[in-house]
């Protein structure tokens, strides 16, 4: 199966300041995104996410290494023919109306006039901008601009969508809309590559995740592998009678994670489940939950970036924040 995106030793250095000091924004990125998968790209500000996306879209040139879209080098404009792109904080020609903008983009994507008109109406409806179709973009709110950006990225029915912070600036309804669109596109077999700060989006939408830390690729793998590390660890929460102490049973040998009133939470291996549950029942207790031990992506990210325990300094946010 051919890959939708492939990079090999992709690096980018910028020259900054009067002394033209070299700053590495990206170092030796090796990435392969398969067709039909949803790939999330996370990292703090300045980690190199947008740099990678800009190289893929031909907006900046790599200092070293190569990148391909559908086996074509990204330096070839034709490589972007089947790619929809949404930039971070998108800006449009605000003197145009959404319909005029989509017409312009459709022409560039070699679409026929009739098809552009039909698809434009359809997409503006999808992102709830039908009523603003003939209004100048100048008067749009941030969320409306973002939604228009999504419509623009979807024009031409692209096989690959590259979205830089697609949820940025959206209210909860807008975020739900984008998440729904991504899931629909996934069902249609489209490839989606998106960067985000919002861990929840990655966990709920992505098949695989890539983590960048200061331009270095620290992790690429499936969400399952990232969240459920090897070792088959589980967590059990039990409700025990008063005056009960773990030391009285086999549970005493397990790692107690937390304890609140009559509730106890232990970490255990798959092999220990049977004896532990029997011990709980024998002691007159009850099992509240038993689930595979799961670490959050945020924990993984902080772990990889060496900032575990400095959560407050992370740029990553949960949906509630």
């Amino acid at each position: 199966m051919t890959s939708a995106i492939k990079t090999s030793k992709l690096s980018k250095q910028y020259k900054k300041g009067v002394r033209q000091q070299q700053v590495s924004a990206l170092l030796d990125l090796d990435l392969e995104i398969r067709r039909g998968e949803v790939f999330g790209f996370i990292g703090s500000n300045g980690a190199g996410k947008s740099t990678t996306i800009k190289i893929l879209m031909g907006l900046i040139q790599a200092t070293n290494g190569q990148a391909w879209l559908f086996e074509r080098p990204v330096t070839d404009p034709a490589a972007r023919l089947h790619v929809g792109y949404l930039s971070e904080h998108p800006h449009f020609h605000d003197f145009l109306t959404p319909l005029e903008l989509l017409h312009l983009l459709g022409t560039m994507r070699q679409m026929e006039r009739k098809t552009i008109a039909r698809k434009s109406e359809e997409l503006l409806g999808l992102v709830s901008l039908s009523e603003a179709a003939n209004r100048k973009i100048r008067g749009f709110s941030k969320g409306m601009v973002q939604r228009l950006g999504i419509a623009a990225a979807l024009l031409g029915d692209p096989d690959l969508l590259i979205l830089d912070e697609p949820m940025s600036g959206l209210d909860p309804l807008g975020r739900h809309l984008v998440a729904t669109i991504i899931r629909d596109l996934q069902r249609q077999g489209k490839t989606i590559f998106f960067s985000t700060h919002i861990i929840h989006d990655i966990e709920t939408l992505c098949d695989r995740v890539g983590i960048l830390v200061q331009g270095h690729q620290k992790y690429v793998g499936s969400i399952q592998e990232a969240l459920y590390p090897a070792g088959n660890l589980f967590e059990i929460t039990v409700r025990m009678p008063e005056q009960w102490a773990p030391a009285q049973t086999i549970l005493g040998s397990l790692r107690l994670l937390w304890h609140k009133e009559s509730l106890y939470n232990f970490e255990l291996t798959e092999a220990e489940i049977s004896s532990a549950t029997q011990a709980v029942i024998a002691a007159g207790g009850g099992i509240v939950t038993l689930e595979p031990k799961r670490r959050s992506l945020e924990e993984l990210f902080l772990d990889l970036s060496g900032k575990f325990g400095e959560k407050g300094q992370s740029d990553l946010t949960s949906p509630a924040s």
């Binding site: 910028y14 907006l59 930039s87 145009l96």
Partner: protein, 271 residues
Amino acid sequence: MHSFACIRALGLATLKGGLRDRLIQSLLLAGLFFLLSTLVFSSFSMRQPLEVAINYSLATVQILAILVTLFLGLNLLSREIETRAGYLLMGQPISRTVYLLGKFYGLCLLNFLIVAFFGLCAALSLPLVKIGLTNAPSIAWGNFFVAQLGILGISLLLGAVTLLFTALATSAVLPFLMTVGVWFIGQSTEAVKNYLEAGLTAQPMPPALKWLVTVAYYLFPNLSLFDFKVYAIYGLTIPPLLAGYALIYGLVYMVILLLLAATLFQKRDMT
């Protein structure tokens, strides 16, 4: 074919942007006012009201076309890169050259419309100036038309200069100042060169200065070549060779500028 369709679409969008820009709209209104005032100002001349009217109206069209070129030209790239509005377009399956040419095409369209519209307004005002004048010379309409084409040539050359500078610079101020500089130098290099070569100076000029003037003459666009106002004012015959040379010179210079701009723009990082 696809590239031509893209250039056309980008050009039309740029034209829309120009016509919907408040600053350009204000300039056009001011231009209309100045053209109407031709009728008043020409009457101040006792001897040559028609000549004054032709000169005044052509100068108005020229100033207007150049100002529009300067302001729109800067918006074409500098503001698009600053606001990142151009990222969406450059992320499409088109080359940077197509993007640049599309922008230039839009500038050409807007300049053509402005020169055509204001040229027409000027042409309509001239017969009004002539009313009541005895022994007024006839208007050399052909020359008047060629003078308008000359104005279009100057504004398009300056547009290409603006594109070259904006392809290089990261801010809008520098290209603006540099284009204004080119405009002033381009208008006078030929006159200065001729003056020095004729040996009319009171003291002999240092060879380095002569060399500098010669370099400037060949490096900067010779905008005075496109100035046919005198021919239009006095109804003099325009030498076909001069008009042909101006046309070829303008086209070649513009192509060189656009090629340079495209080469530089191709390598530029949109950070």
